[in-house]
Amino acid sequence: MQGSIATTTTISEDTIHAHESTGHAEHPDLRVFGLIVFLISEGMLFFGLFAAYLTFRSVATSWPPEGTPELELLLPGINTIILVSSSFVIHQADSAIKENKVKAAQLWFLATFVMGAIFIAGQIYEYQHLEFGLTTNLFASTFYVLTGFHGLHVIIGLTLIASVLVRSLKAGHYSSTSHFGIEAASIYWHFVDIVWIILFLLLYIL
């Protein structure tokens, strides 16, 4: 009986302490909200670059400019399938941790990391075998800047996933009651995925 009272007191003191020292910063809803607001600004960055790309394209007499080698579709196509499905994989991790299945969440995270790494490896391979460079012409420049910016975001996402995975494995962080890291990495990964779909349509298909 006494024990339970003591526990209650500790919890309420902790709550007050968190409230006093950091405002509401530890409140998970605020962090998710903040991340989504931040991703809106990231979206605007890509929106600006897409708009620039579309303007260059609409003003140009021929697009891509004469003499630009055709883009191979096979490798980026496979890459796209891998990246899109990895979004479903990371969603499994998010659902798993909410049911407190820590091991499953770790495995799904590992799987996402591997898929993301394959995507990056594929992109590096593609860069090495393209027959145009950054300064060849306007199409080439926009191609590298857009895919490069996206690749940078994939690498940031991989870093997030890796750090969450390490924290979970080494320090036993994240459970059904505390899973902001996993949720954040998952939301970020979905964002990176959506950007890639638009990018793929713009650069390769249209």
């Binding site: 903040g34 607001v37 600004s41 003003v59």
Partner: protein, 548 residues
């Protein structure tokens, strides 16, 4: 609202004020009040630097020949003046300074939503400023604050231009992080019992500002990266000789830089809405109209950027669209000005420095707004494009608007921030000097512009010389006018008269805690006794009878 006219009713009246030791302002503090003051002091120093650059520009222009500095350095002077004033003075002062200090206090929160992020955002502006100042040693950027290509990518000053791009990226990142913080804080951390329509109007203004900064700044970042690639790696995004299109840069640049104008003025609108009611002892006229007009300016502000490009080969149908959108911004702005004047009307005015600066703001900003309507109509704009008329217009808006508003805010909240009162006599001297200097400097520029004097030139036709002398004299008065303020502020901070918790008998929440506020702002939970603008409740019936 039964407990009216007890403005100081609070949970921490009489609490021991927070005595922040001086060294705390040089640390990576996460307290929103420390960060707010850090922003204000740092940006004010950049204001003095930018002002020195401007004085040099004006002294050079006192004579038609280029005899003080060589023309190339003159180009750097006005480029750096514009960059410093916009990115390192007004934007950080109004959002980072006043926003950080006031928003949590006004909504009854303990701190911002993400205190560490807040500190990071501030400490990004320091290297940005140091880089920009350091570029004077390696040949500073000299292409105007707009850095239009192809000039900016063909310039000989590669290093200076690259540093310029880097510091813009740093302040841009800072302002995105701050915007995220403000949106989450205002949306989610209001105290119990405070809904959106009972929060102070400054918070509405900060909300609108943050949305603008959040949506527009990343596009500028994209433009800066592409420009950097063109400059350093040799891509041809904006270089027409390599198939690029310089107009795309203008679109990307103005998609940020026009909203940036509202980022610089919306928080000031908020400050004015906070300063006028307590100093005229009347409720604000049209609370909802002012709140909605901020959001309307925010929405319209994102669709007017091409009015900077009426002469850039923009097709006619697009010019008409952007002209109409631009002129529409006059409607919400007019609503605000009308509401402020209606608040002053019949008020019991207390002509202290804060209200003087606020009234100086209204009158001067009105002139800037009217010349803005002229410039917004494409035919007039084409006629006076890149003349001193444009310079006069944006200085009326940015100096007569933003800077007057910042001063009004500084005089109003100085007692809260430092626990000391500013000297009223020197405040009035400061106001008179600033007001005269401002109109003497920028007023005659309207005439210069209509007569056709181009901007951004070191040498000009001798027929413009007499008016330029007047402008230069005004600029020197303006430069001198900061002296009484700086001395007054520094002296009062240490030796000024002790300030009570609520020297103006104001009703917003920040006045319910001690001056300066204690850590975490209140001892217990703050109490919402009245609305933010319920002044003169006892005369309410008299007023209604008078209207009837």
């Amino acid at each position: 609202m039964t407990q009216t006219l007890t403005p100081t009713q609070s949970s921490s009246a009489g609490a021991e004020p927070q005595k922040t030791p001086w060294w705390e302002f040089f640390t990576f503090s996460v307290d929103h009040k420390v960060i707010g003051i850090q922003y204000l002091v740092t940006s004010f120093m950049f204001y003095l630097i930018g002002g020195a650059l401007a004085s040099a520009v004006r002294v050079e222009l006192a004579t038609p020949d280029s005899d003080l500095v060589d023309p190339a350095f003159y180009n750097s002077l006005f480029t750096m003046h514009g960059t410093v004033m916009i990115f390192l003075w007004i934007v950080p002062a109004v959002t980072g300074g006043f926003g950080n200090y006031l928003v949590p206090l006004m909504i009854g929160a303990r701190d911002m939503a993400f205190p560490k992020l807040n500190a990071i955002a501030f400490w990004l502006t320091i290297p940005a400023g140091l880089l920009l100042m350091g570029s004077f040693f390696v040949g500073p950027a000299s292409t105007g604050w707009t850095a239009y290509p192809p000039l900016s990518i063909l310039t000989d000053e590669h290093v200076g231009q690259a540093i310029w791009i880097l510091s813009i990226l740093l302040v841009g990142t800072s302002s995105i992080l701050a915007a995220v913080n403000f949106i989450v804080t205002i949306w989610s951390m209001r105290m119990k019992g405070m809904d959106l329509f009972s929060m102070p109007l400054f918070c509405w203004a900060m909300m609108a500002t943050s949305v603008l900064a959040l949506l527009a700044t990343p596009v500028l970042a994209g433009a800066m990266v592409l420009l950097g690639f063109d400059l350093l790696i040799g891509t041809n995004f904006f270089n027409p000789t390599g198939g690029g299109d310089p107009v795309v840069y203008q679109h990307l640049f103005w998609f940020y830089s026009h909203p940036a104008v509202y980022v610089m003025i919306l928080p000031v609108f908020g400050i004015i809405s906070e300063v006028i009611p307590p100093h005229s002892r009347k409720p604000i006229f049209g609370y909802k109209a002012i709140a909605y007009s901020s959001m309307m300016i925010c929405a319209l502000g994102l669709f007017v950027w091409a009015h900077h490009m009426f002469t850039s080969g923009t097709p006619d149908w697009l010019r008409v669209f952007f002209m109409v959108a631009t002129l529409l911004v006059a409607v919400p702005t007019g609503i605000k000005v009308f509401s402020w004047v209606a608040t002053l009307w019949g008020g019991k005015l207390r002509l202290d420095s804060p209200l003087l600066f606020a009234m100086g703001f209204i009158s001067t900003f009105l002139i800037g707004g009217l010349s803005g309507v002229m410039l917004g109509s494409a035919p007039v704009d084409i006629h006076v494009h890149d003349t001193y008329f444009v310079v006069a217009h944006f200085h009326y808006v940015l100096f007569g608007g933003s800077v007057f508003g910042i001063y009004a805010g500084l005089y109003h909240w100085f007692p809260k921030m430092t626990g000391r009162m500013l000297n009223e006599f020197w405040g009035k001297i400061h106001f008179v000097l600033t007001f005269i200097g401002m109109h003497l400097t920028f007023g005659p520029m309207h005439i210069l512009g209509l007569q056709g004097m181009p901007r951004r030139v070191a040498q000009y036709d001798p027929q413009f010389a007499p008016i330029n002398v007047i402008c230069t004299v005004g600029a020197l008065i303006l430069a001198f006018s900061t002296v009484p303020f700086v001395i007054n502020a520094v002296y009062s901070w240490f030796k000024g008269e002790q300030a009570p918790d609520n020297p103006w008998n104001a009703l917003t929440l920040e006045w319910t805690t001690s001056s300066p506020p204690i850590p975490h702002n209140w001892v217990g939970d703050p109490v919402l006794a009245t609305g933010p603008y319920d002044y003169g409740e006892e005369y309410k019936e008299d007023r209604q009878e008078a209207i009837a």
